[in-house]
Symmetry: C2
Subunit: 424 residues, 2 copies
């Protein structure tokens, strides 16, 4: 389970803790704003018992057997969770590794070069497609799917395409559901009671994850336990404490939270977290702006600002107790580079010293630093992180009196764009 | 040349413009704090005339001929510029493309798995190494080089290693220079008058860029012209205007600047920019916190916060007049997905509509939006961007009365880390 350490930020006072417990009660009793979108809370326990979950695993096994490339088409919550899981558990260079199908994410932007490049990488390879969109009308994935559909039909027979294209969409309505039913694509359901950014443990995230070789049983099992653990109405619930401590920072003018994460493979977990918090909290001229920083790479970049810039920053530092790989630094006889002082140490010990040294420096610089301690980069930890951050996010939003589950602002750019493109 | 449009943020007033011109004068006359580190200003004009520049191109040609993998070891300014250039001009998936040597960046963190993975990808491939460190004692690259050096000597003879390892380091002193001279590695010089984050157009950035197949003559030629253009003491100098407008925003409480960039290939240009500004400005409890947002991917993520969250954000939106690739959306007879309203349009027109729609929405939400308009993603534009952002950064810092060229805060975590690791 995740440990939360707030020594570097200070424990929240009793009244803030009480507020956080009230917010958690609102979330659990489904009595707050947006409560109709809290299906993600029961999901980890219930979903694995369903027929659909079995089908997700079967289709994933088929993809692993028959596909060399899986193209996943989706934007926002429809790709960030799966990409985060795959990069964390497989690596950011997973598409260069042998064995698994390569997984490419398209339809999350409007860059033609990106599409050409992926199609070039598909040459002579067996391709499957998973298109993910609740409505089917969101421009980026819809356009991506139009282009990829044409490509698939140019390479495969209609019968083959029926087998190779899988739609994750609304259970009954919408453009994508209509199209899938008409042609006969297999479909999985985006539940009505779970919004995009909370959907990683639905077929939205689970199918690409399982297709990439992630053991989703382990993810769901850990998530179900985490759901119980992080729902406890107690001041030693780490999710509740995290929400209370960051809110305390916010009220003291720390309007930016930097998640500092250990290494490239965690970059997209931070991106997933940024979406979850940014889109949930950023409303009504309120909210903590989420940013991220890679340790130690970005200490030679943003580190200076965190330490000594405009004092608007609080930090949540993510670290692993056990690393993905061990590597002992060897002594050299000549000690030409003067590094023998770390000889005999494992790289991860050096990383932990860097993280500890950074914490001390940032705390000395007046930055409240929270520590989020994970066991190791595995399926269970991923499942725990999802529930930890989702529950804490719900608590944070209710403490700030905003709806954690809508995103009214996102509609504005779409409306303008549709007008500029002449959509009726 | 880059165009700067501040309609969406408002023109700065005369006194702020006057301040910006004064700051530019300070920068040009080398009379401000840190002036001994402004060698990057003359560099684009002078450096291509040198013998060393010729040698950079020759060694790069040798790497392109003989290597299938180039491992670049460096942290902060010693890798961000080259990585940004390669991803912008080749693509973020360049290592999966045939032809060029693959380029992997190591020594910018302490993740053992990252090292194992790169070494696995090196199997049966011809490997060259470029280690970049002014001193040779920065822990991450020094450790990375110790491990990679051992790997190289396990694969190649000492004579071969002498040919395959190239050091970019101090001209005379330091651990890495000593080691390189002793063994006989070829060396390139990190100039004394240019700090890490301003060093992309020195051998630090140029050798990896040229090895990856980027035409550095075109980069330097454009950079030299840009240097002249963006040094003009005039209110129509776009770099000066950018500095003045963002400073105006800062004085109005916009303590975060989001650079929104069009597509995955520009992610590391934004990372380079974040280092340049964060490390230069973030001092003495001042500075604009630099963050980034990918368009359109992150509009379904951070978009909500920008639009309607805590009103601390100003935005600089980067867009291209011409895209890297064209792709016309085709009409379909059935119009099953309802997308025929964009049929006949090029993808880039759709992207530009999305960017324009976003600007309108964010401006309506009270966010000052600056527009940075680039011609196309090519060598010349890269060279222009480097000088545009560097000069504007110098101006911004002098307006805020901080030294643009030091990073005292970065030392603190290092000191703690060294103590925790028992370094004498």
């Amino acid at each position: 389970m995740i440990k939360f350490n707030c020594e570097g930020a200070g424990r929240p006072d009793i009244s803030t803790l009480t507020e956080a417990i009230e917010a958690l009660k609102t979330l659990k009793s489904k009595s707050g704003e947006g409560a109709e979108f809290t299906g993600w809370m029961e999901l980890p326990g219930d979903y694995p018992k369903t027929e659909e979950y079995k089908a997700v695993k079967e289709v994933a096994a088929e993809i692993r057997e028959k596909a060399q490339v899986l193209i996943v088409i989706g934007i926002g919550g429809s790709y960030l969770g799966a990409r985060a899981a795959i990069e964390m558990l497989k690596s950011s260079r997973h598409n260069q590794e042998p064995g698994n199908p390569q997984v490419y994410f398209l339809g999350n932007g409007l860059d033609a070069f990106d599409i050409y490049q992926v199609l070039r990488l598909c040459e002579d390879k067996s391709v499957y497609v998973n298109v993910i969109s609740k409505s089917g009308t969101t421009l980026e994935p819809a356009l991506g799917f139009r282009i990829i559909r044409e490509y698939m039909y140019s390479r495969y027979s209609a019968e083959e395409c029926k087998q190779r294209i899988i739609a994750t969409t609304d259970k009954a309505k919408g453009v994508l559901k209509g199209l899938a039913d008409e042609v006969g694509y297999r479909t999985f359901v985006v539940p009505d009671d779970i919004g995009g950014r909370y959907s990683v443990l639905t077929p939205v995230g689970l199918l690409p994850m399982a297709a990439a070789g992630i053991d989703i049983d382990k993810v769901m099992d850990a998530a179900a336990k985490a759901q119980a653990e992080y729902s406890r109405e107690s001041s030693d619930n780490p999710a509740l404490l995290y929400a209370a401590v960051r809110e305390t920072g916010y009220r003291r003018g720390k309007t930016v939270e930097i998640q500092s994460y250990p290494g490239e493979s965690m970059r997209f977990m931070a991106e997933w977290w940024k979406q979850l918090y940014g889109e949930s909290e950023g409303k009504g001229r309120k909210g903590i702006f989420p940013a991220s920083c890679q340790i130690t790479a970005d200490l030679h970049s943003l580190g200076q600002f965190i330490q000594d810039g405009e004092p608007i920053i609080q930090e949540s530092m993510v670290r692993f107790e056990e690393p993905a790989a061990k590597l002992e630094v060897k002594a050299t006889e000549a000690n030409e580079d003067g590094l023998n002082y770390v000889a005999g140490k494992d790289m991860n010990q050096v990383l932990l010293a860097a993280q500890k040294g950074t914490m001390e420096a940032h705390i000395a610089g007046g930055v409240p630093v929270m520590e989020i301690v994970l066991e190791r980069p595995d399926e269970a930890t991923f499942g725990e992180m999802v529930l930890f951050y989702e529950i804490a996010c719900g608590i944070s939003c209710y403490m700030q009196k905003v709806n954690p589950f809508n995103q009214p602002g996102v509609e504005d750019y779409k409306k303008n764009m549709f007008r500029l493109l002449g959509k009726k």
